[in-house]
Symmetry: C2
């Protein structure tokens, strides 16, 4: 999966580069490790933000944090930092020998979407899939429409649709990858 | 639901009172609002921590934050702060005329548990249920065994079981309360 910090939109719909949130890295890495995700790509074109992510990850994978909390190390080892989604796709193609199909998520409705059952079926094939989530107020519309697939928005019973990206990611992993009927 | 900061255990299994994490309040309140949870109780016996939660909540429900982000206001309005779980039960009894049954969660195995299907059935009755999650390294064992029910741990396909309480809460709400087949 990839967590994208550019191009995303702010509250007013302007395209921005968002700042990396430390707890996004920890929460999503832990959920990714729990659900068997192969890699967690953090996408930001900003040099200082890339350096920040690398510093956090190395603290927990090589530094004092690795000894203090080995479980956290296992999770944060899944993190890779890339400047663009194209570079993420290159990385996956280099490892798998085949380009990934991109599946983006959006809390907005109005896109032609696939549901979770359909995506679960697709995951049984040998094609690599890259699940892409946006930070701030979400991925830009151009970015969403250029993806291979758009996953249905998460809906609860209430008429309220403002999950954090951390919560949304955990729910999506569980819907797609929980290995038992609960 | 209730998020408990005492009695919980630390990394070494000692019973402690944990510090409140700002993002727990935001993420869990937003997920609670999405899934139609009635109230989100933050349980801490520490006076300074109670004051901190009240300050954060009032910023977003009455202060500048309420105007900046009305969606966040709606979520944080669900938060109530109480010193103990007994006081939470009193609050619910006062509002519903009946004491709640407590359902605790634990990442540990070894307890007699109910699964998510069973709990979904239970939620169709008129009895109020209080879902209780712990912070730090989880609720104390004595606390777990004194609850009415223990919910099955969340398991992914991987042999790794270290979700954040924010992620676990989102997944539990979705398993119990998502109103459509996805």
């Amino acid at each position: 999966m990839a967590l994208v910090h550019y191009p995303v939109v702010n509250k007013n719909g302007d395209i921005i580069a968002s700042a990396v949130t430390n707890l996004d890295l920890h929460d999503i890495a832990r959920a990714a490790k729990t659900y068997g995700i192969k890699s967690f790509f953090v996408v930001t074109p900003l040099v200082d933000q890339k350096a920040l992510v690398e510093k956090i990850v190395s603290h927990w994978t090589e530094g004092l944090g690795a000894r203090y909390n080995p479980a956290r190390r296992q999770a944060l080892e899944l993190i890779r930092v890339e400047e663009t989604l194209e570079k993420v796709a290159d990385d996956i193609r280099n490892r798998c020998g085949i380009s990934p199909k991109t599946v983006v998520t959006s809390a907005k409705s109005g896109f032609k979407t696939i549901n979770y059952g359909k995506f679960r079926e697709m995951l049984k094939s040998s094609i690599p899939y890259l699940l892409v989530l946006g930070t701030a107020w979400g991925l830009s519309e151009g970015f969403i429409t250029s993806a291979d697939y758009v996953l249905s928005p998460i809906k609860g019973p209430a008429d309220y649709n403002h999950l954090s990206v951390r919560s949304a990611t955990a729910i999506i992993f569980d819907r797609l990858l929980a290995n038992e009927t609960y």
